[in-house]
Symmetry: C3
């Protein structure tokens, strides 16, 4: 219940605001380079992590990622995938269809996706580094899941919070989500007020002077 509520509150923010809240708290979480691979909507949810690695032999194995999708039993999941190979796909349209039918909210890949039209055609959001047509088959395997992975320089653990929109992808450790959302809401209100002030003709130098913005600290303390 509290998590659902936190998710809804997180969903009302954007990545810029969440990144600012992390900054104020001295926490990592913002990533550069993981952006929408089609013109897809924002996703907000909790991470189901998958760790991939280059394949080291030719024995057929269980297909990567499918066991993770299989076990999903809540409607708040975002698949977060790390460890692939540059230019090789970690995500395609069979997986997108399977994830969509499990009500997964979207996929974030520190890597590439293929079949991107297939994900778009069913409205399934995919964020990542780029698009390719080259299959993971016989190139990439899954070596672990539900563990802490490194995504574009940020450690992401199972159940961490994820927000992804036009500006990129941000992760929030579950231990900090309440603080981050509280602060994010305050930053969003202030930011909205600053935009209003500027639109109504107030000096932007005055509105954006750091003494104004740093006041968040005082307010927050």
């Amino acid at each position: 219940m509290i998590n659902k509520s936190l998710l809804d509150r997180l969903a009302a923010l954007d990545t810029n605001t969440v990144s600012d809240a992390l900054d104020f708290l001295g926490l990592p979480g913002a990533t550069v380079g993981l952006r929408p691979l089609w013109n897809c909507p924002k996703i907000v949810g909790r991470a189901s992590t998958v760790l991939l690695a280059p394949k080291s032999d030719n024995v057929p194995t269980v297909h990567l990622i499918t066991p993770v999708v299989e076990q999903i039993d809540s409607d708040d999941r975002v698949l977060v995938i790390a460890g692939g190979i540059e230019g090789i796909s970690c995500w395609g349209d069979i997986l997108a269809n399977a994830a969509a039918s499990k009500k997964v909210r979207g996929t974030v890949i520190d890597g590439f996706s293929r079949d991107i039209d297939g994900s778009e055609s069913i409205g399934y959001p995919v964020y990542g580094r780029g698009v390719t047509m080259i299959s993971a088959r016989n190139r990439v395997v899954q070596i672990d899941a539900a563990v802490t992975i490194n995504v574009a320089g940020v450690d992401v653990s199972e159940n961490d919070y994820v927000i992804a929109d036009t500006c990129g992808t941000v992760f929030v450790p579950s231990a900090y989500i309440e603080k981050v959302v509280d602060l994010g809401e305050r930053i969003a209100r202030r930011q909205d007020g600053m935009v209003e002030a500027v639109r109504s003709g107030r000096s932007v130098a005055e509105v954006m002077h750091d003494t104004q913005f740093e006041a968040i600290h005082v307010e927050h303390a």
Copy 2:
């Protein structure tokens, strides 16, 4: 006649499927990074290759690529261009207009294009690494054509088959096109069946288990 038919069959596939067929046959052909430079349609055709190189003197010469466009006398051509310089254009709108009037199906550049709005305005597809405004004039010259060139790591010969769509660009040597199309059609049917199975609620882990997919080999053998 048989080529026309193979082209039509190739045109019914996508780059993901053709790349998978090449994988099964152990052939190269898939490239990373050569993507649509405007929101352009898929192109399928046979390569007319052009090899460029940095200009080494200041003597005016015949304009690059124009002699190749000039000599085209069939309606199945895709211009495939390699050997340019990073950030310098190899393709502009006069060439696009000339190619369109010769019924060329599109251009794939291991490099950059300029005047991209001009190509878009006449609906001429251009795939490549990026867009610039800097002219090839006095910077890049054509050194050969109708020869084997290296495009994003793949050797492409005159008359090789080309398919390019949202996911990128794939080349198929003419000697293998029948095998690749046969196998691609089988893969496409299987892929469609897998998406259907997943949509109808079957376990994705079961549907995508490698034993299922590797069955293509048996079927093909």
Copy 3:
């Protein structure tokens, strides 16, 4: 008055043509990699330059760029920003609102922007290297303005002319603008004529032969 007229004439050209004019005159000015960060219209105007640098201490300071926006008192300005950090934003939606209310024509960044939806929602054009959500706050400071800065390899001075469109961004020193516009208009006419010639069925090899194009030199001499 004469400047206004030159600006209008520049606005009738595109970056490809202006880059060609600079080439003929042996001048730098064309850049690679500074492209629209949303699907924004062409901008043409005169540079107000801003030089940023990584922050070296934690003392709160005046917010970067705001003093420059504050002092703008004409309707021909384009903000041109250099010296940021890879992956860190130099531009957001409060600044976009402030700039829009000052009738600034757009922003070109040798770097990144955040809040890009905010700029898009008010129709404010932003060109640069990419999008991020990470704030400049406590990471980047303004160290100078209205000075000569280096933008993607090109020196840009206060009041230089700027043109940016789908193909990228080009700068023209004010001392050369008349020559560049004169020559650009002649190139544009010739280019239009070449497209017409090709469309009407003339040989593209003949139309684009360098002797044709180099005739611009003679005409210009």
